[in-house]
């Protein structure tokens, strides 16, 4: 299976970018809150990109092409 690696240190605000998530023709990637917010009513403080449906990834590489930070890798 294709492994999609996301470098959290290179991509700090995926929620403001969304390029890789939108570019994926198969909808593999998802914006995900890193942790559950500590209290009700508070938005998640930190987001990551999560390869939720990587079972359908066909290594087309569009996500790598559009990432402005080079934060994604296909293994």
């Amino acid at each position: 299976m294709v492994k999609i690696k996301f470098d959290e240190e290179k991509c700090l605000k995926p929620e403001e970018c969304m390029e890789c998530i939108r570019a994926c023709p198969l909808g593999v990637l998802m914006l995900a809150p890193k942790k559950k917010p500590p209290n009700p009513g508070i938005p998640p403080p930190r987001y990551i990109v999560y390869p939720l449906y990587d079972v359908v990834c066909n290594r087309c590489g569009k996500c790598l092409e559009v990432c402005p930070k080079g934060a994604l890798k296909l293994i």
Binding site: M18, G27, M30, L31, K36, P40, P43, L52
Partner: protein, 273 residues
């Protein structure tokens, strides 16, 4: 009749039983309150992510442990937040029984790169909880007629309706979605969590004598999000695979010749839910 109706239908479909819309079901059941809080007060983003991530991780395990844990996840879906497909006519009946209609942004679309869209039609306690905990979100309060109008609009656009529970049988929302963005549906199709997006009580059947093949490109085909409609170009015939059909009725609504109708799963003898 599906398994939820048998327990909570009282002679009708579970989502048409007015008792299942009673907010006391939440207020008097701490476990259900926790589910409602986790999707409103805390973080729907986290909820969607966490439940879907679990489905993905279970799917990576070898058999037979994968099958065992998938069964557990399917059971868990009933105690959490998931739903069942309904055709437009049932969705319209649901909004008649429901109270406190409010539309909130679709979080699946938001998280999976879709356009920000107000397509998540909620009922009951959500109307009060959402603005309280998520004042930053654009929401729309509606009356019954407004909700019906929106449902018809979504149907036109080709969005599948699904009635969602917050711990069975409390009816909390009607989701209106597309396969590309719907995590509940994709968790079913890709990870086998059937109860995250149950099939409706119906299947679509086609009367070949009434189908005129729409002059070469049948409209019903592109309306189906489940790949259940097959076209045979040589014989100019359209066939619906009942094992793949979710019974949403979108193909029927697009047919000008009324060649497609919905029949109950019992009547059609289709036991795949």
């Amino acid at each position: 009749m599906c398994d939820i109706c048998e327990k909570h239908g009282k002679g009708v479909k579970w989502y048409l039983n007015p008792e299942n819309f009673d907010d006391d079901l939440v207020l008097k059941d701490p476990r259900r309150m926790k589910v409602v809080e986790s999707i409103t007060a805390y973080s729907l983003e986290y909820y969607v992510y966490n439940s879907s991530r679990l489905a993905r991780l279970v799917n990576m395990l070898p058999q037979p442990i994968r099958a065992v844990l998938t069964a557990v996840a399917n059971k868990m879906a009933y105690d959490l937040h998931a739903g069942q497909v309904v055709p437009l006519e049932d969705a319209l009946k649901i909004v008649e029984i429901a109270h406190n209609h409010v539309v909130i942004p679709c979080y699946c679309r938001r998280l999976t790169g879709g356009k920000e869209e107000l397509t998540c039609l909620n009922f009951g306690l959500v109307k009060e909880l959402w603005p309280k905990y998520r004042p930053q979100d654009n929401i729309l309060e509606l009356d019954v007629n407004g909700a019906k109008e929106l449902l018809r609009e979504w149907d036109e656009k080709g969005y599948v309706h699904a009635v969602f529970w917050a711990k069975v049988p409390y009816v909390i929302a009607i989701c209106n979605c597309e396969k590309r963005y719907c995590t509940a549906l994709r968790n079913r199709l890709l990870y086998g969590i059937k109860n995250s997006y149950k099939k409706s009580h119906y299947v679509a059947v086609i009367d070949e004598n009434l189908c005129d093949f729409c002059g070469g490109s049948p409209r019903c085909v592109s309306r189906c999000q489940f790949g259940a409609i097959r076209v045979d170009r040589d014989s100019r015939k359209v066939a619906i695979r009942s094992d793949l059909c979710f019974g949403c009725g979108l193909c029927r609504d697009a047919c000008d010749n009324q060649a497609i109708r919905l029949v109950s799963r019992e009547e059609a003898g289709v036991k795949v839910w």
